[in-house]
């Protein structure tokens, strides 16, 4: 129950602040998700969803950081 998963905001369903919600797609399956806690999230953004609520927006630049690091250690590892 506690596994949060990333999904993509597809379309807004409700724009009342506390009940702000959108259809969020999780690789094919989509669900209504409450977005009251991520007021900055827009269509096309990825959000981390827990028990029907988005608790954070995925920062795309930070998401690439580990791969930049892996490239770096890969290069240093070359003879």
């Amino acid at each position: 129950m506690c596994l949060g998963i990333p999904g993509r905001v597809e379309a807004f369903l409700n724009t009342e602040p506390l009940e702000r919600s959108a259809r969020v797609s999780f690789g094919g399956i989509s669900r209504e998700v409450n977005l009251a806690y991520v007021p900055e999230a827009d269509v096309g953004d990825y959000v981390i969803v827990h028990v029907g609520f988005a608790i954070s927006r995925v920062n795309e630049d930070e998401a690439r950081r580990i791969f930049r690091y892996l490239e770096e250690i890969g290069e240093l590892g070359e003879p």
Binding site: M1, C2, L3, G4, I5, P6, R8, L18, E19, F26, G27, N34, A36, Y37, V38, P39, Y46, I48, H50, V51, G52, F53, I55, S56, V58, N59, E60, E62, A63, R65, I66, F67, L70, I73, G74, G77
Partner: protein
Amino acid sequence: MKYLDEYRQRDSIEKVAAEIARLNTRPWTIMEVCGGQTHAIVKYGLQQFLPAAVELVHGPGCPVCVTPLEAIDRAIAIASRPEVIFCSFGDMLRVPGSDRDLLSVKAAGGDIRIVYSPLQAVTLAEENPDREVVFFAIGFETTAPANAMAVFLAREKGLRNFSLLVSHFLVPPAIESICSAKNCRVQGFLAAGHVCAVMGYEQYPPLARKYQIPIVVTGFEPLDILEGVMLCLRQLEEGSCRVENQYARAVERHGNLPAQEMVRQVFEVVDQNWRGVGAVAASGLRLRQDFALFDAGRRFCTDIIARADTSGCISGEIMQGHKKPGDCPHFGNSCRPEKPLGAPMVSSEGACAAYYGYRRQEPANEH
């Protein structure tokens, strides 16, 4: 899927594993706090990517596992009432109470509904004005904002037939309780990424300093967990004890402020009893006086006497890092997922259920 598949790629995982092997000179014990991380570690056999000297032990971060026996007994008493529609996350139905579980109440005709969000319970209350809808609000800081919003909206909507049975836990006091135990084996922590997505990680530097222990905020995918181990190990090997954030794509230092504000409005901090572990000061939440009308415990005045757990389950020792599921004499014998003796055999985030489900992948160096 984006943000999942790329964090599960074997070549990336192997690169980080090689870096860990290069850094490692001595034995270390690291605890991952969250049950979601435990699940990923066992599912992907991540221990096999680590040097034999680096042991991962599994923390108390599974809400299904730590919800105390008396809360389950209270849930069973309330769910048995004919006027009640009892809503719960599915995992809770098979957690053993003193005499039985919620599933047996359902089998006997109790109206128990499995929901994935507390908002579904609010909708049920709107649709069934002549019934009492009770939501079993369990969890950590991750579910608290959702549960708080459910109560808040129920009040806005003027619902009088909605209430919460609250069993909420806070992670930092549990980390502190593990660190302060005399026989603590844990030398570094992977903190639960989603708890920090809500709460931030400003609470951790004082803990890291006080107990001279590195704490790395860590995500849930295999690559996240190995990078968390790598960052933790690097600190251990160089003798540092800082707080680092591996999971910066979802976690900011101050966390999610609107979510924290809603939790503060609805809940207040109380002492809490953790199943298997015992009482931990200031480690739980209950509804504030303003929301007392929505407290199912008060509404139904359930007289539950806390009983001792006599099942022989050693979940407390596992969740404090002293033992592994395989050390329990009941594991796989009298305790199996179809007939769990203790709560960690129920939820997929429970260490025992994870070890049982993926036991063929269990690495050889596990003890």
